[in-house]
Symmetry: C2
Subunit: 312 residues, 2 copies
């Protein structure tokens, strides 16, 4: 919503308002006061120290390669240990290679898996289904940096090692939340009907009402535009209406199994760092000159998690 | 995240878990209890009465026609009377025709306007800039159906004639909120530097921190995929890095000025109807068999606003 950053136009030329006022309700408009300048997200990133960042763990990083490029997914074994292990087992036996993205529903999800349900691809060593891991015991989650901001979906929200998460001390449970880029496990009605053969990534407004209702295994840290710009499917629920429209998966690989020179060298800002608190503050209280009001709040899924490429 | 709806597979085959358990933390998993079935969004729409719907007002509906199709925008004159009048004046003089979508930033906005800033297209009768209409007096907004659910960005949120909106009784102001599909007015740093020559639509997670900081003029009610699937720009802020990548605007027309047989005949569910309360309830408390937990909350920007095409 900013105008073109290269704009050299002066916009001060205010023309007579007479003919417009005739159409408009008599609203009194006064220019908002100017806010003092504050550190922006870009400023915070620029001022950050190397220790504010962590490299992705190659043993918990997936590369989803499609013809348009690479999507990098960070897995969260603390929150879905059996599903993450199973997905890694599926990757190890190259289960996903040659399957396809079969669904892209606007403001909802892109989903991939086996397009040939009548004659499904055999699984060698991994599991086809597992009991759902919709929540985990709170005590399993060692790191949690809580947001002070109110949330309507959970008693407590914040970040656990870079993942938006929530928890409920009353039930003693913790879970990953559905935000833009969250990756989860498709399932049928039964809670044990998914296992990782179908995965989805959120490409729209965070569907937080799915939290605790499905197994979340991680998030896309790079390459979201490759999923978010996919043509939307026109069959029910955004599935593609013919096999030709499916987007083929070249491969899914664990970063650790890819030669180092072919890896994506990404770092994620540590969400338990002081720098990340400054990121949140930059979002919560934006300063002038552009901003005229400060929100005073940051929603969990509106909290940016900076990612950078290193070594290039 | 649902599996393929045409799936005929039985998923009950549970293989031995021994080799997986070896990799996984010792988490106790129990299947969640089944929820009773409840009316879904589709059920509510099916059960709705004609009086639960309203036709779009041709005098406040824009057709943004690009090569890929038509985007339908409903304007909200109550919330931005001068800007809506000015945008309609710009449309009337065919200002936008031949301009372009120049920006698509992932999880943020698509934006359109004049790509030729050095030699800008002249404006005949409308204004180039106006004082911002970031909020309006609360008394100007006659219709407001408040959500009971907590919101972090505003004291009160709900819907005003189909638009997600908020208000603050203390300051006596009301405003449209930034949700997916919200349309607003690009501006420079000065609050009076926009006027409607640059417009944007939200294509990602709702950037609610922009509320009250920019003039919102309406929302896209049909055609969002034409904007949300645009290739993301690679120049700063998601602008396209060369003019060839801009997406040309064939025209923007007011529905009232288009022959009836060429109009998009859309109806929007009335957000002050009992049917819409049932929509919210279906989102707030999803039932079985698929859902295992109920969110007990609906976020303003997660509240779907049903739109349907009629007469075809």
């Amino acid at each position: 919503m900013y105008r073109h950053p290269l704009s050299g136009l002066t916009m001060a030329t205010v023309l007579g308002l007479a003919h417009l006022t005739a159409h408009a309700a008599p609203v009194q408009i006064k220019a908002p006061a100017e806010l003092p300048a504050k550190a922006t997200l870009a400023d915070v990133i620029k001022a950050s120290k190397p220790s504010d960042w962590r490299a992705l763990d190659p043993d918990n990083t997936l590369y989803l390669d499609i013809p348009a490029g690479r999507v990098v997914i960070e897995l969260a074994p603390d929150f879905a240990p059996k599903h993450v292990a199973n997905i890694k087992a599926l990757v190890d036996e190259q289960y996903y290679d040659g399957l396809a993205i079969t669904r892209a529903q606007d403001n909802w999800v892109a989903q991939w898996g086996d397009p040939n349900e009548k004659n499904p691809k055999p699984i060698q060593h991994a599991q086809r289904t597992l009991p759902g891991e919709f929540t985990v015991p709170l005590k399993n989650i060692k790191s949690f940096t809580r947001l002070p901001d109110v949330d309507g979906y959970a008693p407590q929200v914040g970040h656990s090692n870079g993942f938006p998460s929530a928890r409920d001390p009353k039930t003693g449970t913790a879970w990953l939340t559905h935000c833009y880029a969250t990756v989860g496990v498709g399932r049928d009605s039964a809670s044990d009907s998914g296992g990782g053969t179908e995965l989805y990534a959120v490409i729209g407004q965070s569907p937080r009402h799915l939290d605790r209702d499905i197994t979340v295994v991680g998030r896309v840290v790079s390459g979201m535009p490759l999923l978010s710009t996919l043509p939307r499917g026109t069959a029910p629920m955004g599935f593609y209406d013919s096999p030709e429209k499916n987007v083929p998966i070249k491969s899914i690989r664990l970063a650790a199994s890819v030669p180092p020179e072919q890896r994506s060298n990404l770092e994620v800002m540590r969400t338990d760092s002081a720098a990340y608190q400054a990121v949140l503050e930059a979002q919560r209280h934006r300063g002038g000159p552009w901003s005229k009001v400060t929100a005073g709040h940051v929603d969990l899924c509106n909290a940016p998690i900076p990612v950078r490429e290193v070594g290039k």
